[in-house]
């Protein structure tokens, strides 16, 4: 937010412990609830937690992971949502941000409420609403479709429609969120660039592809990584809207992790799945740092 330069830190005595006291609460909780669990989860992924007592068997969980068709199904579903939904949503969010940035748009308060209100809704309430709306026989959506002459869709009872339902729900919830971030990026583009382009005779489309999109790239990449990490952690929507069905057509990595860890209580195997999620998330973050330059992320 602040546009201030990094502070000129005051010259302090060598033995000044003040900053450490201020950091103490955060890092105390961080050690207990971040570092310890992250390290222990890593260890757990190499333990056979099926035996009593738990024993160290290096390949027990990771070996199973590679052969487990349910894991690959969950990974495949998660990646499908990621590859299809995230780009569509970000394209939509970019256009929305441009519309909001345009001085042609009136009634901005109304539009802001319409598109940004979903982002205060929790995952559970909005999943409940979408399950009601997408109800197969009696849902209001199918009623609307049939009343304009379209066939009703078995949203929750067939594989592809169930996936589409999840993607529509996520797009409704997260487009405004990304548009807010993109809009803040848009507003940092100097207006003089557009004025210069206009003088050179560039139309709105040329301005969009020549100025807006290239300068928005770092923010877009940030949104992409954020959405990717969010999608990798997808749980509530498939858990409540489609109950990971039909069959396991909308099983995701985290719904599978939940079933493994907290239905079957196989903590070792669930930890291996958790680390898979983390490794993929880290890979996407590294891509962002490589593409944008770590400096910008750090500062």
């Amino acid at each position: 937010m602040s546009q201030a330069r990094p502070a000129r830190p005051a010259r302090r005595r060598r033995t000044d412990l003040t900053p450490y006291w201020f950091l103490l609460p955060f890092f105390a909780f961080f050690a207990i609830f971040w570092i310890y669990p992250i390290a222990y989860s890593f260890v757990l992924s190499f333990l056979n937690t099926r035996s009593r007592p738990w024993t160290l068997e290096w390949g027990f969980n990771w070996g199973r992971l590679v052969r487990d068709e349910f894991f690959w199904n969950a990974l495949g579903n998660t990646m499908t949502i990621l590859v299809v939904q995230v780009p569509i949503m970000l394209a939509f969010a970019t256009l929305l941000a441009v519309a909001f940035g345009s001085d042609l748009l009136r009634f901005k308060g109304f539009f802001r409420f319409a598109f940004f209100a979903p982002l205060v809704l929790g995952a559970v309430p909005y999943s409940a609403v979408f399950r009601l709306i997408f109800n197969d026989q009696f849902g209001i959506l199918n009623y609307a479709l049939t009343s304009i002459g379209l066939p009703s869709v078995p949203w929750l009872f067939e594989n592809v429609p169930a996936m589409v339902t999840i993607m529509i729900a996520m797009t409704w919830r997260w487009t405004g969120y990304n548009a807010v971030i993109l809009l803040s990026g848009l507003q940092s583009i100097p207006l003089t660039l557009y004025e210069a382009a206009k003088i050179d005779g560039a139309g709105p489309l040329q301005q969009f592809f020549g100025i807006t999109l290239p300068l928005l790239r770092p923010v877009l990449l940030f949104c992409f990584v954020l959405s990717t990490i969010g999608t990798l952690q997808l749980f509530t929507e498939p858990w409540l809207i489609t109950t990971t069905g039909p069959g396991n057509a909308t099983e995701t990595l985290v719904t599978y992790l939940y079933k493994t860890g907290f239905r079957s209580f196989n903590f070792g195997y669930a930890s291996a799945i958790a680390y898979t999620v983390a490794i993929i998330a880290a890979a996407f973050s590294l891509i962002q740092i490589r593409l944008v330059g770590g400096r910008e992320v750090q500062r």
Binding site: M1, R12, P19, S41, F116, V120, A123, Y126, F235, L240
Partner: protein, 276 residues
């Protein structure tokens, strides 16, 4: 030129208005069906205007569990959490922004790295720790403690604390004010807008969090609103009207607050994205 602008403006609105209405429909349907009996929600054609069934739906919502208890749990947990987590974030943000000390770069990099670590990696050991070692399952503290270290809050506070004038702090030190006094009496009051933005984000996060509470809360009396609602969605004996009353209670306060405090919501959301 003028006519051209007018045409483009009309086209833009022709596109945006239907889209906005489409986006508003789920919220509208949630509010309307909270007042309807089940046979009118799931009818063809459905009733599209509010009905008189709100009180019955509220009773129905409470038929399986005490929803008021869940509301009390959510309010208590979110208020206590937000108070402490905001303070913790402000303190570390202040240290990172206004002091030079050994390990600053490393520690701040750790905070940034933590932003990309999915919660799932912590879930299982944290469950074993909180439920088995600390015996805190089904308590407010089980929900509050694990998130008091909230990296995004630190990051956001640090960015904002950079704008606190160093001269002001130095002047206070020369006047003999202690470090704690400087922080509470000078720094926090100037930072009020940033604190509000962080507090909103933290409150909203805790109010809506589902995965961790689902793991650690097993008794109905300990449920937060999301866990209670999630349980009801899976049951067939509670009517949709009842569930929608619950979702309305979970969301309506924030929809109203959002209309009122949009600026802070948006500052909080863009916290991670904007770089100085």
């Amino acid at each position: 030129m003028r006519r051209d602008r007018l045409v483009r403006s009309v086209l833009l609105h022709a596109l945006m208005v239907p889209l906005a209405i489409l986006f508003l429909l789920p919220i509208a349907w949630m509010l309307i069906s909270a007042t309807l009996p089940n046979n009118e929600i799931l009818a063809a054609p459905p009733t599209l205007l509010p009905g008189m069934h709100l009180a019955e739906n509220w009773r129905d919502l409470n038929s399986d569990l005490n929803f008021l208890r869940a509301v009390a749990n959510s309010v208590g947990i979110s208020v206590i959490f937000t108070t402490f987590a905001t303070l913790v974030a402000a303190m570390s943000g202040y240290a990172f922004a206004k002091f030079r000390f050994a390990g600053r770069g490393v520690l701040f990099t750790v905070v940034i790295a933590a932003l990309t670590i999915p919660f799932e990696v912590r879930a299982i050991p944290q469950y074993l720790l909180v439920a088995r070692e600390l015996s805190l399952a089904n308590t407010w503290w089980a929900i509050i403690l694990p998130w008091l270290a909230y990296p995004l809050g630190v990051f956001f506070m640090r960015q904002n604390m950079l704008s606190v004038p160093t001269d002001l702090l130095e002047a206070a030190r020369i006047d003999g004010a202690g470090e704690a006094r400087i922080f509470f009496r000078i720094v926090l009051p100037i930072m009020r807008p940033a604190l509000a933005a962080v507090a909103i984000v933290l409150f909203l996060f805790q109010w809506n969090d589902y995965f961790w509470p689902l793991l650690i809360l097993s008794q109905k009396d300990a449920y937060t609103i999301p866990v209670a609602l999630g349980t009801l969605v899976g049951l067939t004996r509670v009517s949709w009207g009842g569930i929608m009353v619950g979702t309305a209670i979970a969301t309506l306060p924030f929809l109203i607050l959002f209309l009122w405090l949009q600026r802070y919501f948006i500052a909080g959301i863009t916290a991670g994205a904007v770089k100085d």
